[in-house]
């Protein structure tokens, strides 16, 4: 069914106002009164269901800064959009009703596409998570859509019975169940907000509008998130390398912290961060399909660079052991980090990830174990 948005021609009084909506105390467009002081709210639209906040369609520098902070996971919860019904422009009873998540970036990218349009916007309570992840978790699901339709009393504001949902919410929303429970017919629009206007104007979803991409920009966008996630663990390991480097056959020597510990910590951090950045960037060009294999290539590349830089002739047996150790540890860690990147992509299946993990994880653990053991032996020769 390609999405079209015909008017159903139903009278707005055909739906009895719900008396109760589970979990929602009062029936009004937006329950959270703090919404009126939000910088992106510009006035209101008076309706029979109450005052509906009107959202601005232009992003200010504060929005962009906020979006940037959300990406870097700074004060994330402060950027939840209060769930409820919003207006864009001056919507009438014939204006389309769009549904979205209350994640700041999703909300911003949607409203920034809606300049000079008149639409109703239902923001679901997805706990501040984007459409796709929320749909997978079930927060952007059938129940929440039904609940929010009732709580916002949108049925009293429009004469048609069509909801436009982002396509990716189909993971959590069963369209025919929403129709059965509310009389509203969900239509899955395009994946990306940038295609929305074309879709609203034409009523046709082209095959391209259905497809999810994973462009260089998309891949780079998840790098900061990944870094914030991994930073603590990687730093801990680096500190361990630094402190253990003091060990030696002559006992613990603080001088070695600087001569061996610091370079070790730097090598570990540099290659890990390198994998976190270069992995996503080079993803399409690293040979093989399993991510663990792609990471392995990257790790081997880093090891080769390290080996060239070390100058094999110049170093003694301890140095050679070190180098051997890094040639095990770096590929193992890079392989693991890229395998982890499966969670940030748009095309890996859980069956596939399971399959590659069964093979890769034991190899990664073994290589890391042997590598660290070799490195420790290197401290004593």
């Amino acid at each position: 069914m390609d999405a079209t948005s015909p008017k159903s021609g139903k009278c707005c009084c055909s739906i009895a106002a719900p008396t109760t909506a589970d979990g929602i105390a009062s029936l009004q467009p937006v329950a959270d009164q703090a919404v009126w002081s939000a910088p992106w709210v510009q006035g209101k639209v008076a309706t029979p269901a109450g005052d509906v906040p009107r959202v601005s369609t232009s992003l200010t520098w504060a929005d962009r800064l906020g979006g940037w902070k959300v990406r870097w996971a700074i004060g994330r919860m402060r950027y939840l959009i209060p769930p409820g019904l919003y207006a864009v422009g001056d919507p009438t009873d014939e204006s389309p009703v769009l549904v979205t998540a209350n994640y700041k970036l999703t909300f911003d990218s949607l409203r920034s596409q809606l300049a000079d349009r008149d639409v109703w916007l239902i923001v679901l309570d997805t706990k501040g998570i984007n459409v796709w992840c929320a749909a997978a978790k079930g927060t952007f699901g059938t129940d929440e859509v039904v609940r929010r339709i009732q709580a916002t009393r949108v049925a009293e504001l429009v004469s048609h019975r069509v909801l436009v949902l982002p396509q990716l919410s189909a993971v959590g929303v069963c369209a025919r169940e929403v129709l059965n429970r509310t009389d509203f017919r969900p239509v899955f629009g395009p994946v990306y907000a940038t295609d929305l206007c074309e879709f609203l104007d034409g009523g046709i979803k082209t095959p391209e509008m259905r497809l999810v991409h994973f462009s260089l920009r998309d891949r780079l966008a998840v790098v900061p998130v990944e870094m914030v996630h991994a930073a603590g663990k990687l730093l801990t390991v680096a500190v361990c390398f630094f402190l253990l480097a003091g060990l030696g056959s002559d006992g613990y020597s603080p001088e070695r912290l600087m001569s061996v510990g610091l370079p070790s910590a730097v090598v570990f951090l540099a290659t890990s961060l390198g994998a976190l950045v270069l992995g996503p960037v080079m993803l399409p060009y690293l040979p093989g399909r399993p991510f663990a294999l792609k990471g392995l290539w990257l790790g081997l590349l880093f090891s080769a660079v390290l080996a060239c830089g070390t100058g094999l002739d110049a170093i003694g047996i301890g140095g050679r052991l070190d180098l051997a150790a890094w040639c095990l540890i770096i590929p193992a860690v890079a392989s693991f980090l890229l395998m982890n990147f499966t969670g940030c992509t748009t095309f890996t299946s859980v069956s596939g990830v399971r399959r590659e993990m069964r093979k890769a994880l034991p190899a990664q653990l073994l290589a890391t174990f042997v590598g660290v053991a070799t490195w420790l032996v290197g401290r004593f020769v």
Partner: protein, 96 residues
């Protein structure tokens, strides 16, 4: 999308063409172009592109499509294995 193809023959997607009523919902909701309509029936044309998101199965009115949906994320699987639950995603992927 050069080079961005995941493993071959790994997914749990099945389609029973006999019960398919030809509504086209699966074609409309699949983000990876796995289905195409042919002679008023859905057909799987790119099975390996499936990411097991489950959108098709959830919205197929005749239960002709089945898939064991899940999060294709290694960390989620590790966390799930440790807790003894299904893969649970704790991170914040960023595609909208």
């Amino acid at each position: 999308m050069f080079g961005l193809r995941y493993l071959r023959n790994a997914v749990t997607l099945t389609l029973n063409e006999a019960t398919c009523n030809g509504c086209g919902m699966c074609v409309s909701v699949c983000p990876h172009g796995v289905f195409r309509m042919e002679n008023r029936k859905a057909k799987v044309v790119d099975r390996d592109a499936c990411m097991e998101c489950g959108a098709c199965a959830r919205n197929c009115p005749s239960e002709a499509v089945t898939v064991k949906a899940g999060t294709g994320c290694a960390m989620a699987i590790i966390i799930g294995a440790i807790r003894g639950t299904e893969p649970s995603c704790g991170c914040s992927c960023d595609s909208d």
